[in-house]
Symmetry: C2
């Protein structure tokens, strides 16, 4: 079976793996990414890791997932907050030159979404929208097994979707942006405002809600409605077969997801009510999805 090299390049660690077409990880190497030492060091380190993978020369292509928006056509990062010096650095071109195989770059949410669409929860479906609800909120549109990254690599930057324009200004995002109202950070902020420093993270708010605290329950109910508005907007724009939902907040999905789906059904046209909501199921969507990038480009 054909194999591919998947690389998850983060600000802290980098992982390189050899992955089959079906998403099975055959070999994996992990090291610090040395991000603060600049692109030359990061690239050399990463290429050394590729050479440690048994039979790497027989792979069909390389895919790299990176934190931040990407110019996928030229295989370069557009913003690189966590990888200093990587803005406009020709990652794909350098890998292709050194390993004589096609190489592609995309951002980590797109890559995770691709993995879930090709070999995860959304396997085989023509249109999948991947949503990650974690400290922040991100997403990815996958059509016919290919990530739609968009002109600026910003397709899936759903954190900034306005779900209610009558909220307070929180940060650089839009007023009422869903990330400021329904992400882990947002729920923590709202919890602290009501309950003070006993709230360390969103989980503490969820625990209070489960214990019957009405104010905590109200935070959860609002979150469920805000997320439903976001999902309904995406549904009217791209009508996916399935929303695949990942991210740390899904560990508490029993607290809010049923309400999200119930609200969603009231916010879409009748036929759309059977849109599927599934939890992301891959353990390592980052490297598996990176390895899927060459496949999604026809390799």
């Amino acid at each position: 079976m054909k194999t591919y090299l998947g690389i998850d390049l983060g600000g802290t660690n980098v992982r390189v793996a050899k992955v089959t077409r079906d998403g099975i990880v055959l070999a994996e190497v992990k090291r610090p990414s040395l991000a603060q030492e600049g692109p030359r060091k990061v690239m050399d380190n990463m290429m050394e890791m590729i050479r440690e993978i048994p039979g790497y020369t027989e792979c069909e292509g390389i895919g790299v997932g990176v934190p931040g928006p990407v110019d996928t056509i030229n295989g370069k990062m557009l913003m690189a907050t966590n990888l200093p010096g990587f803005e406009q650095y020709p990652i794909a071109a350098e890998l292709t030159q050194n390993f004589n195989m096609p190489a592609y770059v995309d951002n980590d949410a797109n890559v995770a979404g691709l993995a879930e669409a090709l070999v995860g929860a959304g396997k085989g479906l023509p249109v999948v929208y991947y949503v990650t609800i974690s400290t922040g909120i991100g997403g990815a549109l996958i059509v016919d097994g290919k990530v739609v990254s968009g002109k600026h690599g910003h397709a899936g930057e759903i954190a900034n979707i306005i779900i209610d324009r009558n909220r307070e200004k929180v940060n650089h995002l839009n007023i009422g942006a869903v990330e400021n109202e329904a992400s882990g950070v947002a729920i923590t902020r709202k919890g602290k405002a009501l309950f003070g420093d006993q709230i360390r993270h969103a989980g503490d708010v969820f625990d209070l809600a489960k214990q019957g605290n009405p104010q905590a329950q109200s935070i959860v109910d609002n979150m469920a409605y805000d997320l439903a508005v976001m999902f309904s907007v995406i549904a009217h724009i791209a009508d996916p077969w399935m929303f695949v939902i990942g991210g740390g907040m899904m560990q508490s999905k029993d607290v809010f997801m049923d309400k999200v789906v119930a609200n969603f059904k009231n916010l879409v046209h009748v036929p759309m009510r059977d849109t599927l909501f599934e939890t992301a199921k891959l353990e390592e969507p980052g490297i598996i999805g990176a390895a899927m990038l060459p496949i999604s480009h026809g390799n």
Copy 2:
């Protein structure tokens, strides 16, 4: 050059044309669609028209644009308000059987968007979002020259996008749905509420605004902001290279479009500010886009 049969099947009229790959109409026939006489009559009438097109047997395929959501995989309408009896009627299968060539069906907004993406304002761009602002508001997502219709044929049903949830309930659409706040019907409704029956259509409100009436100007300003929220939401979800905008309201684009774009730039991440906004440029996107359906499916 290869040619295709494009059919625009409406509740009132049906048009059949022979169109080149480049979108040139070589021959065209137009007749009443006989919608009230039922599918058998409508289909026979339409097939008779095809046979009137010189050299129709040499065409590579047939595309049909219809009013309403479509099961594009099976080539059937899912709802057929203006074409009684056509719900689940096998339009594509019957055409293929009778003319021995591939046939496809999609809704009229998707078809118009496809035409604009392939041979119109968005020619050659990887991701185009088509928006029509008319009595209602509709849209279409086109990726790599193919319409993304979605699971329920509802991709592009952007009329129902919530742009401000703190509005009044108007009809079956969501509270604050963009069609109820910024379409031709919405502007007429808002104009009548302020100025009474001197307002016959949105154009009358625009005229008052141009004459310096501050209340009319306020309606226009709110419309421009509401549309900008809609465009920003689409941009964060699919990040198109270009929005192609059609529909009757664009005859008054000088009144509101500059404001829409200025507001949009304030509602998206900085790199997205150069997203293009172009007016639809084809005279007959309905039949040209219908003829493009077989092309977009690889024929």
